[in-house]
């Protein structure tokens, strides 16, 4: 299970705690503002805002407990203690690029007029080529532009064709 119960620093926990308190308070406020249908003779316990209000309140309370615990932990150690181990992570720029590619595909290449198979082929090819190359650079092995490009194109086209055919012909799903 967990090697350490607190691999996140007290400072990060405190910030998150404030977020939960704020979110909980917003939920309680919005729930309170909801129609209670009193003009229809409804009671408080059937009000639509009752349940989310309770959840918001509990969230704010637990956020408060997390904030209090963060102060306790910071007093015992310090605010930056127990940060996650960044040595196992790839550079943030690489992560940002991958995330941007995921979002570009899901938000711009799918359902915006471009044929699904084409958007998928472009996305998979670009992703495989970019990150195969990045892996080679990171490992210190020679970059093989042609080999990686061929692999990427094969992956892109085969994924696009197989996914389109399986969903459209086998599952009768109209693709975006």
């Amino acid at each position: 299970m967990h090697a350490s119960p607190y691999p996140v620093s007290p400072r990060t926990d405190l910030r998150t705690a404030f977020f939960w308190i704020a979110l909980g308070a917003c939920i309680v406020f919005a729930s309170w503002q909801m129609d209670r249908f009193e003009q229809q003779g409804a009671s408080l316990y059937t009000a639509p805002g009752l349940w989310p209000g309770i959840i918001g309140l509990l969230l704010a309370v637990l956020g408060g407990v997390l904030a209090w615990r963060s102060f306790e932990r910071a007093r015992e150690t310090d605010w930056t203690a127990a940060e996650p181990d960044d040595t196992v992570l790839v550079p943030a720029s690489r992560f940002r690029l991958a995330t941007a590619m995921f979002f570009t595909y899901a938000l711009l290449l799918v359902g915006r007029g471009l044929p699904f198979w084409l958007g998928t082929a472009v996305f998979v090819t670009a992703f495989v080529y970019t990150f195969r190359r990045a892996d080679r650079v990171a490992e210190g092995t020679p970059v093989q532009t042609r080999k990686d490009a061929v692999l990427a194109i094969i992956c892109g086209i085969s994924t696009a064709v197989i996914v389109s055919q399986v969903f459209e012909k086998l599952f009768y799903v109209r693709l975006p």
Binding site: D35, R132, A138
Partner: protein
């Protein structure tokens, strides 16, 4: 008794057609591969398969999902043994002794032990699934709105307590899941809550795209963020399980099977806790506890039997109470609802043979993992060698298309992306995701239980606390929560120390 056997035999026979057998082979294989690939979990596999099987007849769709589930929990042991990387969280305990055996050149024997443990574990769990479900189903008929409210709360509290290292964060994650289930029109007045004028949001979050996001996309983001290391696999011996390994460790198998099944029955706890608990129990009972972590056959057998026995165990509360026993079982329950099966206390009355259909599906899934356990080693090694940049975009395409396929609307793709980002962020902040899922699945049941209960009691909270089953449930919840308060834990630790002195 004989009625049950006859129904089981009938269910077994109903899947003996070429299409069903083909689906068993394909979905077990898909499950084993998903489980073996580090970063892809059983929950993600079942969620993705739910989207793929949406147009299938319900029995075939559920057959595919159960085979994927069982296959993925088993498949995780392969990467645990060969790479020292658990393919799924359930296989983390198998790394300790499985990889130690591999380093001694006994990876084949370790894989054989994993196969025999997983097969026997699933069979033990399956036996209790067939035995307990009708009994618990009868008991569950006594449950009313009050009891279902507490049971759902119990599920989220237990999942929050046991699935991560930090119960407070587990409970917060559970609340976020419950809140997300409250978005959209509520049941009594059809009042739009938190929809901000959006017609899509007024319908609430579709469960499957949300689960594909929280487990599929979030896990992809985690995999992208983490460095990949070159895969190096040493030569190994035969993977055929040895009868001696089974007979010499039968006590461990039975004990771990029982522990795994029991933990499966506990709402929302899941396979990883089952594996660790079985491992710890085996270590306590062993005459050679010092060998644990250094290549103990007992340890590996316990972990593998425990996690696979948990799978049928986790389905017991799904069928009897409509409360999932683990995160993959939560997705399975969502799939049952999509396919028109209403899991819960009425299932033994409305469709009594369905329980035996599930047991039969489990039996075929067990045969599937046995087959692949004996034959698939080289193919799996090739799959493990496939570089991450090739697998990740393909999985993402499936996440997008699968989310879209449920209702054929782009909004579900955005839901998947949103829940993926939330799932990734809370993972990075050390919040467990299983309670979030349980909250999403059980939030509706909780709210209905509370509001129906209040209507029935005319606004009085008394029946929530005084009805016998409700009382047992709320007292258990309070005890679980109080025991996790640091001051209480310190008090008990001091008393233990004082008694020892």
């Amino acid at each position: 008794m004989f009625d049950g056997l006859i129904a089981f035999g009938h269910s077994l026979g109903s899947f003996l057609d070429p299409l069903s057998l083909g689906l068993i082979l394909l979905s077990s294989l898909a499950g084993v591969i998903i489980g073996a690939l580090p970063g892809l979990t059983a929950t993600m596999g079942v969620a993705l398969m739910t989207t793929l099987t949406i147009k299938m007849p319900s029995n075939q769709a559920l057959l595919v999902l159960i085979c994927t589930y069982v296959g993925a929990i088993y498949g995780g042991s392969r990467s645990a043994i060969l790479l020292n990387i658990p393919g799924t969280p359930a296989s983390a305990a198998s790394c300790l002794d499985g990889h130690a055996l591999a380093k001694q050149g006994l990876a084949g024997r370790a894989m054989g032990i994993a196969t025999s443990g997983s097969v026997l574990g699933t069979l033990i769990g399956m036996f209790f699934l067939a035995l307990f479900t009708p009994i618990l189903g009868g008991l569950a008929l006594k449950f009313g709105a009050f009891e279902f409210f507490w049971l759902a709360v119990f599920g989220v509290v237990i999942a929050g307590t046991l699935t991560g290292g930090d119960p407070l964060k587990g409970w917060i994650a559970g609340l976020i899941g419950i809140f997300s289930a409250a978005v959209g029109q509520e049941a009594i007045y059809a009042f739009d809550r938190f929809s901000f004028g959006s017609r899509d949001l007024a319908g609430g979050f579709n469960l499957v795209p949300a689960l594909v996001g929280a487990f599929g996309f979030a896990e992809l983001l985690v995999a992208v963020r983490e460095k990949s290391f070159p895969v190096k696999i040493n030569p190994f011996d035969s993977v055929i399980p040895k009868l001696k390994d089974v007979t010499a460790h039968w006590r461990t198998i039975v004990r771990s099977g029982l522990i795994g099944t029991f933990i499966g029955i506990l709402p929302g706890v899941g396979e990883d806790v089952a594996a660790w608990s079985s491992y710890a129990a085996a270590k306590r009972a062993s005459k050679e506890p010092e060998k644990f972590g250094k290549g103990s056959i007992d340890g590996l057998m316990a972990a593998e039997t425990g996690d696979n026995a948990c799978v049928p165990g986790a389905i017991i509360p799904v069928l009897t109470l409509g409360i999932p026993g683990s995160a993959p079982a939560a997705v399975l329950m969502a799939a049952m609802l999509i396919h028109g099966v209403r899991p819960g206390p009425m299932i033994m009355i409305e469709s009594p043979t369905f329980v035996y259909d599930v047991v039969a599906m489990m039996m075929y899934a067990t045969l599937g993992i046995l087959l692949y356990g004996l034959t698939l080693t080289n193919l799996l090694i090739k799959v493990l060698m496939v570089p991450k940049p090739v697998i990740l975009p393909i999985i993402f395409v499936l996440c997008v298309v699968g989310s879209f396929a449920i209702s054929q609307r782009l909004f579900d793709v955005w839901v998947m992306l949103g829940f993926g980002v939330v799932g990734f962020i809370i993972r990075r902040l050390d919040y467990p995701v299983a309670p979030l899922v349980l909250g999403m699945v059980l939030g509706d049941l909780m709210e209905k239980g509370l509001r129906r209960g209040l209507v029935l009691s005319d606004g009085s909270l008394e029946p929530f606390f005084t009805r016998p089953i409700s009382a047992v449930l709320w007292v258990t919840i309070v005890v679980v929560v109080v025991l996790k308060i640091p001051a209480v834990q310190r008090h008990f630790a001091r008393r233990k120390l004082a008694r020892a002195a």
